[in-house]
Subunit: 132 residues, 2 copies
Amino acid sequence: MSVGLEVDLASAVPVWEQVRAQVVAHVAAGRLRPGDRLPTIRALATDLGVAPGTVARAFRELETTGVVVTRRRAGTQVAAGAVAADDGLRAAAAAYARAAHAAGLTPDAALDLVRGVLLATPARAESAAGRR
Amino acid sequence: MSVGLEVDLASAVPVWEQVRAQVVAHVAAGRLRPGDRLPTIRALATDLGVAPGTVARAFRELETTGVVVTRRRAGTQVAAGAVAADDGLRAAAAAYARAAHAAGLTPDAALDLVRGVLLATPARAESAAGRR
DNA sequence: TCCGATGTATTGATGTGCCGATACATTGGT
DNA sequence: ACCAATGTATCGGCACATCAATACATCGGA
């Protein structure tokens, strides 16, 4: 394992989504930094035991969201603009995670809660058009 | 509208999931409190323009997660055990939401981040057995 | 006791998303 | 100029989830 990606083939959530989420998490946590290279599509596909198209799907999503940048021969690497979450944000997330944990919430329940709060947020200014 | 539920029939996320998430959000936010009655399945179904089974699916999920309790003739109401998030938790969620908003994250990106943090959390002690 | 209101279960059709396989395009090194 | 490594595109099949429709079970009040 190079960056430590794992997937659960039996899971209900799609493999490509698992890959995408893990990369996003790694970047946000600073374990993957701008310029770092990800495994090649084929290598990762073989490693995970899936078809290349599946990994490609994940990478494509990551690129359209600006997390990675990919050049034909050079492979795929973390985009320069894909900054890790700043300390304040990460601290807030960590604080929330601790609180949720202390309250005995399951991860799903915890996610539901923030989802509700985020949706209730005033009407974000459609900034990054299209962005998922 | 009684509790203010709305669904987007054209959305990619299932109608039943939209209903479920909204109820959870309302409960967590304290807008729905233990003992409060939800609309009947038929009423809500008609209101939303979907089949009863669809709403029933949402309510079923809510019941298995302990958010609501339902008795044959009495309808469906918010469970006594379904406490709203305590102030600390809600504050943490709100703080995070503000930080995410300030950082320009889209709701999806913000969710990805907490998901990553939650998954990275030490290994929660399988407490509430089953609970999704 | 009867009836209407409410949740529950079943069945079937439809869509659509995932994934594998494979062929293609492009690019940088030698 | 060539070639091998890398990402991209396409096609098909399989599976499964969603949703509608409808019939059933259960309960409380009049």
